[in-house]
């Protein structure tokens, strides 16, 4: 027993080192997978409080760009508005029809903290569970998709952005309408990667990449444009890199997508 104690005492620095490394690395990996553990949520809720104060100052710097992008979006929406269409056939009046059923609802939010130069980038939003945000919702901006809600507290929510490892958002490429999944290599915040597209599809440079629709996002939200198509050795797939349509370093206003029929779809899919 004495020998054991003297052994531990002699190498105590090494043991402390290994012990601390295990705690730190364990915390890091579990945070990426299960963000909703109580301690970690409390921690980032506390830190988001400070980030909001910081954001109150820094958001003024981008007001001009923000206004421009909102104006652009307004024009797009106004084009779709009823008042910008004329009725060609005066005889048929407007019918309040029941063919369409609302599937998605949107909640607007501000980004109060973000990074783009890390392997897994997280954004903090100033809306939380009090605004009915739950983990797993999609987030997009007027220029392109942003990410998936990873964790929520009362007033804040943490977004795992598309600039993360294995984010796997379903997308499709126009005009061949081939499906694939979104990924990010970590090299550059302007380009992403698409995996899982079979190599019989014809894909060219500058083809538009859009969301496939379903649980997270409505169909047809802009993601980016194809930059380069490469063959993968020994696999019947393309490796496609593309340019994001959103500049994530100046992201300010985003929308959280609430899928009203999401639970119904999930229930059906898990039943089998």
């Amino acid at each position: 027993m004495n020998k054991l104690f003297s052994f531990i005492k002699r190498f105590r620095a090494l043991f402390v080192f290994i012990f601390l490394q295990i705690i730190a690395l364990n915390a890091y990996t579990s945070y990426l997978k299960y963000p909703n553990s109580k301690v970690l949520t409390a921690a980032w809720t506390f830190s988001s409080f400070f980030m909001e104060i910081k954001n109150n100052f820094s958001s003024y710097l981008y007001l001009k760009d923000k206004n421009k992008s909102l104006q652009k979006e307004n024009i797009e929406l106004r084009k779709k508005n009823e008042s910008s269409f004329i009725c060609l056939n005066k005889q048929t009046g407007k019918v309040n029809d029941s063919i369409f059923h609302q599937r998605y609802d949107f909640i607007s939010a501000n980004v109060i903290n973000s990074t783009t130069n890390r392997r897994n980038n997280f954004f903090t939003l100033d809306v939380g569970s009090l605004q009915k945000i739950t983990p797993g919702m999609g987030v997009y901006s007027s220029q392109g998709i942003v990410g998936i809600v990873h964790g929520v507290s009362d007033h804040f929510s943490l977004i795992k952005s598309v600039l993360s490892k294995e984010i796997n958002i379903a997308i499709e490429i126009e005009p061949s309408m081939s499906f694939g999944f979104l990924d990010w290599t970590g090299e550059n915040a302007k380009t992403g990667l698409i995996t899982g597209v079979s190599n019989d599809a014809i894909i060219k440079k500058n083809n538009r990449v859009k969301t496939r629709g379903g649980l997270l996002f409505p169909r047809g939200l802009s993601v980016g444009t194809v930059k380069e198509v490469k063959k993968i050795e020994g696999k019947p797939e393309w490796e496609i890199s593309f340019n994001f349509s959103e500049n994530y370093s100046h992201l300010q206003n985003v929308y959280v997508v609430k899928d009203l029929l999401g639970t119904e779809q999930k229930q059906l899919e898990t039943k089998k």
């Binding site: 402390v16 705690i23 690395l25 915390a27 945070y31 980030m51 990074t115 890390r118 392997r119 903090t124």
Partner: protein, 169 residues
């Protein structure tokens, strides 16, 4: 000096959290200046205390940068390397009469070499843990070298502005 070090630590912390974490002019540059405080701790600090301190300080930074454990892990690793580097580079008379790493007593060359060793290892460990894949070797090396270069410049600036007067005596 101890008071100055605590104040400096606080400034480094604020600078890292509110300024350097949000600074991204390139996707492969992430400036980290907090290993400077680890380097400037007294020579007679016990390794165990050094590791625990590094862990706590790293975790405090993690707390505000959405990466629980990443900074803590790399700062503890840097602390281990600090012990090794200081042992290897022991001056002829030992550290008995020297309390803090000062330029006057140890020379500019000694300070720069030992500090760059620690900072480089810290950055290398940080990006290895963050990417953790053999496919990303080129990205890890690129990020390590570029970030190390900018961090080193920032650390030297901070050192000159904050500690130079005290430590050159």
């Amino acid at each position: 000096m101890m008071r100055k070090l605590i104040l400096g630590g606080f400034f480094v912390f604020v600078l890292q959290i509110f300024f350097l974490n949000g600074l991204d002019f390139s996707s492969s540059v992430y400036i980290m200046i907090y290993p400077l405080i680890l380097f400037l701790l007294p020579f007679n600090t016990k390794p165990v205390f050094l590791f625990v301190w590094a862990f706590l300080f790293g975790f405090l930074i993690d707390f505000f940068s959405n990466s629980f454990g990443l900074h803590a892990s790399s700062l503890v690793a840097a602390a281990a390397i600090r012990v090794g580097v200081f042992y290897l580079l022991t001056p002829r008379d030992g550290y008995d009469s020297i309390l803090f790493p000062s330029i006057k007593k140890l020379g500019l060359k000694w300070i720069l070499t030992s500090f760059s060793f620690i900072l480089f290892f810290h950055h290398f460990w940080f990006f290895c843990v963050e990417y953790f894949s053999f496919n990303a070797t080129s990205i890890i090396l690129k990020n390590t070298f570029l970030s190390f270069f900018f961090s080193f410049i920032c650390c030297v600036c901070f050192y000159v502005l904050f500690f130079f007067k005290k430590l050159s005596k």
